[in-house]
Amino acid sequence: KINRDQKFHSMTFSTTLLIDPRIRDWVLFPIVFVMFLVGLLRHYVTVWMKSDPKVEEKNLKEGQILIRARILREHANHIPLRAVTERKKLFCAEEGGLLRAKPDAPNPMSMMMDPNNMTEMMKKNMMMIVPNIGMMGWLSFFYSGFVIAKFPFPLTSRFRGMLQRGVELQTLDVTYVTSLSMYFFTLFALRGVFSLVLGEHNEADEAQAMQNQMGAMGATGQGMDVGKAFQAEIENMELIDHRFALADAEHALLAINPSVLG
């Protein structure tokens, strides 16, 4: 990225900057090194702070009932009709049927207030926000006002505001970037390094963590509505069309040659 030889292939309207090698030594390497260390630290602290997921017995039961109902629907044909009817009654009986139990009305607010969830979310957010803000503050304090590198790929001038914060030159090639933009670039680049060093699913992976958070919000938002899921299962139960899969078991057997062992 340091381009002392740039003068041989500069573009028509750009100036080639010769960047002091001391910037490389005292800015570029330290930034990368510190970010790497911060990422490692974040990973180990998150692992250390992780608590086991507490399973609520009631939620567990409701989830299990749904799974069991689904399994019944899928494979009802393999057990006799009498057994299927018995289980349908177990699930859908007006009085005391497993799917008739009224689960608590899902309340997004109560979900947030749930103390376990709160602390988990807080911890996750802390581990993401604090290092980020810390790093950015440190960078802006020490390393603002000059360019440190030239990105090797062409960029449009729309990126100027983002990549050259602090350097108010309209004519400078956008590929010359400040340390802050170097920070963002390295952030994503280090993901690959972390997966090498810490293995897959490491806690230093920010983009992954953000994705997980999005996914988790979506899933819990839906899974909370157990009452509706129970209703849907009751309706599905009515639709079970039992065709005994073993009705022709003897014929299937007779089709096998008894003298040839499988």
Partner: protein
């Protein structure tokens, strides 16, 4: 560890790699021992003597070069030692595990299992109940308590405990399997059939589950039950035609004979009976005793 028949691996893929003959064990290299132990961790089978041998060999020869894998090996060794009744060694392994993982429930469970093996059921139960107070939904602790009651001969108690457990954990296959066995031992075939139906719902193409269900139906007796049993036996044979499943062929034969005793001229039954007799003759080299019963 809750030990049950590994429903999925009657013909387990790992059997080809595990040396069963103790005479072969002396020639196992260090790397082979490590791989055997890994294989057993991934596809659990109960081979305590082999695990014990490999584990001890690794510990005695190259403990330091195993790195963090040694803790998994210690756990395996503890269970193998309990199985082979080397309880002092088991206690030693647990001590090492405890020094590394001082607040681990998993280690506590191993400690309790040693107490069970010694016969100190009350102490073992105390440890399991403590685990359950901290994590009320701990599957393994529930299973171990049932195992303790079973070991004490308290089948009714074990059945009740499993019932309570299954009210919440409604899809725990292993528990249904254990409950089915308990009911069969009690002679309550109706309820055993119910449990077996759950197992079939979980694994509709498992020849062994079909076989068990057929046997329960045959024991229940009565013409409807026998006809259903015949269907399930046929299905079991169809799912596993090898000689490993001669049990199903034998069961089918008995069922057909029982049906024939009531209705001599059921054409389908006679066809199946003829098929079975041919099959048993074909199996004669492997199972001469069964074939001899044909006469």
């Amino acid at each position: 560890k809750f030990v049950s028949v590994n429903l999925n691996s009657m013909s387990s893929t790992c059997q080809t790699k595990l040396p069963d003959d103790p005479k072969e064990w002396e020639q196992l290299t260090r790397q082979q021992c490590i791989e055997i132990l890994r294989e057993i961790r991934v596809n659990p089978v109960r081979k305590p003597a082999l695990v014990y041998f490999c584990g001890l060999k690794l510990l005695n020869e190259s403990a330091s070069s195993l790195g963090s894998e040694i803790w998994a090996i210690y756990e395996q060794l503890t269970i193998a030692a309990i199985d082979t009744h080397e309880l002092e060694n088991a206690a030693y392994f647990v001590l090492k595990l405890r020094s590394r993982f001082p607040h681990s429930q998993r280690v506590e469970r191993l400690r309790a299992m040693i107490k069970e093996a010694e016969g100190n059921f009350e102490q073992a139960l105390r440890i399991y109940r403590k685990i359950l107070r901290e994590t009320p939904c701990d599957r393994a602790a529930h299973h171990r308590i049932v195992a303790v009651e079973k070991a004490r001969g308290n089948r009714q108690g074990a059945i009740e405990l499993l019932h309570e457990y299954l009210k919440v954990n409604q899809t725990d296959e292993d528990s249904y399997y254990e409950l089915m066995d308990l009911y069969i031992a009690e002679g309550n075939m109706r309820k055993a059939a119910y449990c077996c139906e759950e197992l079939i719902l979980h694994e509709p193409h498992n020849y062994y589950t079909m076989l068990k269900y057929a046997e329960i139906l045959y024991t229940l007796g009565g013409s409807d039950s026998l006809k259903l049993a015949r269907k399930y036996y046929c299905n079991s044979v169809r799912l596993n035609e090898s000689t490993a499943n001669i049990r199903a062929v034998y069961g089918l034969w008995q069922t057909c004979k029982a049906i024939k005793a009531n209705q001599n001229n059921d054409k389908e039954n006679n066809e199946v009976l003829a098929w079975v007799e041919k099959r048993l003759k074909a199996l004669q080299p492997q199972a001469p005793d069964v074939a001899a019963m044909l006469k």
